[in-house]
Symmetry: C2
Subunit: 188 residues, 2 copies
């Protein structure tokens, strides 16, 4: 991949994320990205060769953050600490980077576009294992994990929840996730 | 809206739903729908004037089904029966019409495309009120409702859950939803 100057690259990725959030990944064309930036399509192609490369670059920071959460969880000394580290890390990412998280785990076209390249499936598997432990293969646990991942992505982009502060959303998501997974709060 | 013969209309809507599930609503063009059916774009235009009309016709059966669930819930005699009727009705719809439900409540481009026309927001409000009752306005309850709606839509389209039968998915979704909402099972 050609390396564009950092600032132009960041502007392009920010604009693309806004378009993804409004039109979906499948509904965002290179033409729309160029128009949003006020540049030509050729200028976009100068930075990224394909739609896939842009999509990957948009979500890579979130995937890297998930990998860091998984690293921390796996390094925790007890099963309770592993669960707690993984769950709070995922919720934190969902809350503080809402649009990117929603695009990453809530858009049907994203998975098709980035395929196996980004390592998302690997990080999702590591985090599921850390949170669910020995029950990771149970059907009920698998449904719970999907419910949480998809539900949190939806919560991050729901205009009906836009009035909640990051603190409020974080608190409610943690309470609800712990209830769903039958986890105790850490100081309870 | 012009009324195409029933069979051709049904084929077009089925093909469109498959394309939505694979490429997202925003990533599905009239050209792709025509190609999928092996007809010309003009033939598609003969049945529907716009992309919006097709999107609305694809999801209308699910919105009508949600309205019927809301009617039944509101007619139930007790608060417990209203909750139970609304929750089981929504889960049933999610399980038995997985693709349509996922497209309706899980695709960011769908809301933008159909806007207020379809009455989806009205039905969602009626069902939330039936399920959450007096707590419908609490932030925690609002987050729980979004988590469930978005999570169930994701569960319906997750290839990792495709091995579950309708019965299994229904059972787990009901168990998890009741736990999240602190509802008793009806015969507990």
């Amino acid at each position: 991949m050609r390396r564009p100057p950092g600032e132009a690259r960041r502007r392009l990725l920010d604009a693309t994320l806004r378009l993804y959030a409004a039109h979906g990944v499948g509904g965002t064309s290179l033409r729309m990205i160029a128009d949003e930036l006020g540049v030509t399509k050729a200028a976009v192609y100068h930075q990224f060769a394909t739609k896939e490369e842009i999509a990957l670059a948009v979500v890579q920071p979130a995937i890297d953050a998930l990998a860091a959460v998984a690293d921390a969880a796996e390094a925790a000394p007890t099963r309770a600490a592993r669960r707690e580290t993984a769950l709070t890390g995922v919720v934190e990412l969902m809350v503080t980077d809402r649009e990117r998280a929603a695009v990453l785990s809530g858009d049907p076209a994203m998975a098709a576009l980035i395929g196996g390249h980004a390592g998302l499936a690997t990080q999702a598997r590591r985090l599921s294992a850390a949170i669910l432990g020995a029950s990771a293969g149970d059907p009920e646990s698998r449904v719970a994990a999907t419910l949480l991942a998809g539900g949190m992505a939806t919560a991050g982009r729901d205009p009906g929840l836009a009035d909640l502060t990051d603190d409020e959303l974080r608190t409610h998501l943690l309470t609800l996730a712990r209830r769903l997974l039958r986890m105790r709060a850490p100081h309870a």
